[in-house]
Amino acid sequence: MTHTVTSSYVKASDPLYADCLEWLNLEAELLDARRFREWLDMLSQDIDYRVPVRTGRNDPDHSVSFSTTAFHMLETWHALEERVRRFESGYAWSEIPPSRTRRFVSNVRVLQPGMSHEAQVKSNLLVYRVRGDLPPELLCGERQDVLVREHDRWRLLRRLVLLDQTSLPTQNLGVFL
C-alpha cells in the first residue's frame, strides 16, 4: 500500500504541479494560522483522512510497518469538523494558549493522473511545534494525498500520513498533519 515508488511524475513545470504545490502551501499556511474553517473548506466532504500507527517491525522496505487497523487519526469530514468545532468552543484547554506550529512541506511529487479531475500528490512534511515553555516537538513523515477537482477547486479527497515515529514525541496530537 504505502510505498509504490513511481518515476512517471508530472514535471514541475506542468500547471498541475503548480496547482498542487499551491494547494499544499496554502493548506500549510491556513493550518499554521489556525484558520481551521477555511481549511475544512479545502477538504472534500467525502474525505478519508488517516494517520496510521507506525510499528518497528522488521520491514526492509517499509511496506508493512504501518498498521492497517490502529490509527492516531481516522477521520471523515464530519469527524474533522467536530475537532474544529472543539477548538472553536473556547474551552479546548490543550490549545489555550495555542501551540505555535510551522509546517515545512517539501519533496512534492505529483502523479500523472488517470482521471483528469484527480491528482495524486506525495509530499514530505516536517512540523515544528512549540507551546509554553515545553521543549519544541518535531513530527515528520510523508503524506500521500488525492486531490479532486470539485466546482473548479481542488479539494482533498484522501490523505494518508505516514509518520516516521512509532511513539509520537508530542504532548498530544492536537494538530492536523
Binding site: G56, F71, L74, A79, L80, W93, S94, G174
Partner: protein, 456 residues
C-alpha cells in the same frame, strides 16, 4: 509499617525518608506534597519499588494469538519481550542476551521461532531457552545451556486476556494482587462471548506529566469532566456547551477496592446500559460469564473509568459516530492504557482500543473511530488531560514547592467535606460512594504508592 522499620531502610536518603513520612502524616486529611509529582530521586525509587515489584500489564493476549508471535514491552523503563511459544504458552523474557547483554530482539513486534543474538550468535527459542551456542564444543565445553536461557520475568499470569508480569519473585499472586477488583474488570473485559481483542497496535506518545496524575485521574476523578472537558460538550447538540449535572448523581465511585479504584456512571431510565453497546453486540454478551449481580449492574452501566495500581487504566463508554452529533445511534468504545514512566515528570502513554472479538467488522470500525475521537494522542478528551498533567509536573518541580512544602488538596470526600456517602446496598465489592464528588480513589492510589515505597 512502623517508623522504626522505615528508619532502618538503608536505600532511602534522609530527604526521601522525610518526604514519605510527610505524606504519611497528612494523606488521610487529604494533603499531599506537590513535589511528589516530579522529583528525580523519588522517581528512581518508584522504578525500584513499584514498577520492579508490582504486577504490571504487558500485553493483551490477542496481540500475540499465534505461536511465535511477540511484542516488545517495557516494565518501568526496562525492555521485555512478551511471546507465545510453540506450545502456546506465554513468556515474558528480558531482552538481553545472556552472553554479553545485547538485545536479542530489535523489531517491536513480529513472529519468530528463534531469537538469534547478532553479536556472537547465541540463539534462543521462543520459550527463551538457549539452543545454539556457536563453536560450543570447542569454546564452551562446560557451559550448561539450561542455565543460560533468557531471563524470564519472575512471575507472569493473565486475567481476562490481559497479560501481567511481576519482577518480584516474592510478591503475592496476580489473583491476590487484583483481589476483588476483578469484579469490575469483568464488566469490561469478561462479558463478551469469544472474548475481547485489540484493534491493532497501541497508539503511543511521550508527554510531560507524572504517571500518578494519570493513574489517579482514571481511578475516579469525575469532578474534572465539567471543567476540563467542557469543549466536548459543544460537540453534542443536546448539551451544546452546558454540563449535565443531573447525570452526575447516578454514580458508583469505587474509592478503594484492594488498593485500586474506579468510577462508574449508571444509565438514567431513558439511557442504554451495557456501556451503550448496540443490540447486535449486547447479544454477544453472556450472563453466564459473570455473576447475576455483575450482569445486573452491567445492564445499567453507562461508563467506567478505572485504574489497577500502578499504571493500568481503562475507559469503557459510549457515544455517537464522530461528527454525527445526533444522540440516537448507540455505540460503545473501550480503551485500555498504560502510563509508562519515562523519567521524572515524563510518561509514555500506550493506548489500545479493545472490541468484542465476535462483533462485526463494521461495528469494530465504528467503535475504533469513536475511541480515536475521544482517547489517544489526538483524542478530543485526552488532549486536554495531557496538558494539565504536564502542567502539574511543571509546578511540582519548583524549588519553592520543596522549600515551602506546598501541599495539594485531596480533601473531597474526607470527613465532613462532601455529601458523598458510602453505599451499603451497592452490589459490588470495595468501598463505594454514591456520587462522584469525592476523591477517595485518588487517595487510595497514593496510599498504595506510599506503602510500596515504604517497604524496603
Amino acid at each position: 509499617m512502623s517508623i522504626e522499620a522505615r528508619v532502618a531502610d538503608p536505600r532511602l536518603s534522609p530527604r526521601l525518608r522525610d518526604l514519605l513520612d510527610d505524606v504519611d502524616r497528612t494523606l488521610e486529611e487529604g494533603l499531599v506534597p506537590l513535589r511528589i509529582y516530579n522529583d528525580p530521586e523519588l522517581y528512581e525509587l518508584e522504578l525500584e519499588r513499584i514498577f520492579a515489584r508490582c504486577w504490571v500489564c504487558v500485553a493483551h493476549e490477542s496481540e500475540i494469538p499465534n505461536p511465535g508471535d511477540y511484542v516488545l514491552r517495557t516494565i518501568g523503563e526496562d525492555p521485555w519481550i512478551v511471546i507465545r511459544d510453540d506450545n502456546g504458552l506465554v513468556h515474558v523474557l528480558f531482552n538481553s542476551c545472556r552472553h554479553r547483554g545485547t538485545q536479542v530482539c530489535g523489531a517491536d513486534q513480529g513472529n519468530t521461532d528463534l531469537f538469534r543474538c547478532p553479536y556472537h550468535g547465541w540463539t534462543y527459542d521462543n520459550s527463551g531457552a538457549l539452543v545454539v551456542v556457536p563453536e560450543r564444543l570447542e569454546a564452551y565445553k562446560r557451559l550448561d545451556l539450561r542455565e543460560w536461557g533468557l531471563h524470564q520475568a519472575p512471575q507472569m499470569d493473565t486475567y481476562q486476556g490481559l497479560i501481567f508480569a511481576c519482577l518480584d519473585p516474592d510478591a503475592p499472586s496476580l489473583a491476590d494482587y487484583l483481589g476483588d477488583f476483578t469484579w469490575y474488570m469483568d464488566l469490561s473485559f469478561g462479558m463478551a462471548r469469544g472474548g475481547m481483542e485489540v484493534v491493532g497496535e497501541p497508539n503511543r506518545w511521550v508527554m510531560a506529566g507524572d504517571w500518578k496524575s494519570a493513574a489517579e485521574n482514571f481511578s475516579g476523578d469525575p469532578y474534572h469532566t465539567a471543567s476540563l472537558h467542557r469543549s466536548t460538550f459543544f460537540l453534542r447538540p443536546e448539551t451544546n456547551g452546558r454540563s449535565q449535572p443531573s447525570q452526575i448523581g447516578l454514580r458508583g465511585n469505587v474509592a478503594d477496592c484492594n488498593g485500586h479504584g474506579a468510577s462508574l456512571i449508571l444509565a438514567a431510565q431513558d439511557q442504554p446500559g451495557f456501556f451503550s453497546y448496540p443490540p447486535e453486540v449486547v447479544s454477544l454478551l453472556d450472563p453466564a460469564m459473570v455473576s447475576p449481580a455483575q450482569w445486573d449492574l452491567a445492564s445499567r452501566m453507562r461508563f467506567i473509568f478505572a485504574t489497577a495500581f500502578p499504571n493500568f487504566s481503562w475507559v469503557h463508554s459510549g457515544g455517537t459516530d464522530p461528527g454525527n452529533g445526533v444522540g440516537t445511534r448507540r455505540l460503545s468504545y473501550m480503551s485500555f492504557r498504560q502510563w509508562q514512566p519515562r523519567g521524572p515528570g515524563k510518561i509514555e502513554v500506550w493506548s489500545w482500543v479493545l472490541v468484542p472479538k465476535e462483533a462485526s467488522a463494521e461495528y469494530k470500525d465504528r467503535s475504533n473511530r469513536l475511541s480515536i475521537a475521544h482517547f489517544g494522542a489526538s483524542g478530543n478528551m485526552e488532549q486536554d488531560d495531557t496538558v494539565v498533567w504536564g502542567s502539574i509536573a511543571r509546578s511540582a518541580r519548583s524549588v519553592y514547592a520543596r522549600k515551602a512544602n506546598l501541599k495539594i488538596n485531596l480533601q473531597m470526600g474526607t470527613e465532613g467535606m462532601s455529601e458523598a456517602k458510602v453505599m451499603t446496598d451497592w452490589p459490588g465489592p470495595g468501598l463505594v460512594y454514591d456520587r462522584g464528588l469525592e476523591e477517595g480513589s485518588q487517595r487510595t492510589i497514593l496510599r498504595h504508592w506510599l506503602s510500596e515505597l515504604n517497604r524496603p
